[in-house]
Symmetry: C2
Subunit: 102 residues, 2 copies
């Protein structure tokens, strides 16, 4: 969970996730979108991949990046749990606290 939130704590990476949730993009296609070097974008993709927010598949010489909505959902679930906690619906706080350790 640390890695997921950390990966999302960067506007460029959130943008990459958003775009690759819609369509596959090669790394270099993504790199053209941002005012930074190819290597920098490549690192951002690696961070997202490490958090399982995107996956890559090879097509010829390029790597196609696509967003992984399941991981987004996992993160959303953690936030939902926090909201639920606030509403006081949960009495077994331990359950959620244990989950958060994920």
């Amino acid at each position: 969970m640390d890695r997921i939130f950390h990966a999302l704590a960067d506007a460029t990476r959130r943008d990459i996730v958003a775009r690759t949730l819609r369509d596959e993009h090669s790394v270099s296609a993504l790199a053209r979108l941002y005012p930074m070097s190819f290597a920098a974008v490549q690192k951002h993709v690696a961070v997202l991949q490490g958090a399982e927010l995107v996956t890559k598949r090879r097509r010829g010489r390029e790597q196609l990046v696509s967003g992984n909505v399941d991981t987004i959902s996992k993160a959303a679930h953690v936030l939902d749990q926090l909201e639920t906690l606030w509403r006081g619906r949960i009495d077994r706080i331990g359950e959620i606290l244990a989950d958060k350790a994920t």
Copy 2:
């Protein structure tokens, strides 16, 4: 948004948010919960406060920390937008991409 996700990218801080969403806790009460110095916990609270995930109010010599569910909701909304994007329900991608810049 960067600050919110960054603040959530740490298990100790997520734990503090969870606890303070339920009840107010003084900084030193929180500090007793974790295997680190008071100053370290104080810094975590400062990060959360900077992200507006918690607020502090004074009571005598102590500062009571309480979680801010609105900010959690804002973060959850961003994730929801990403999920929605994936489901292809949105044709105006620009709208969401602009929002993400937040």
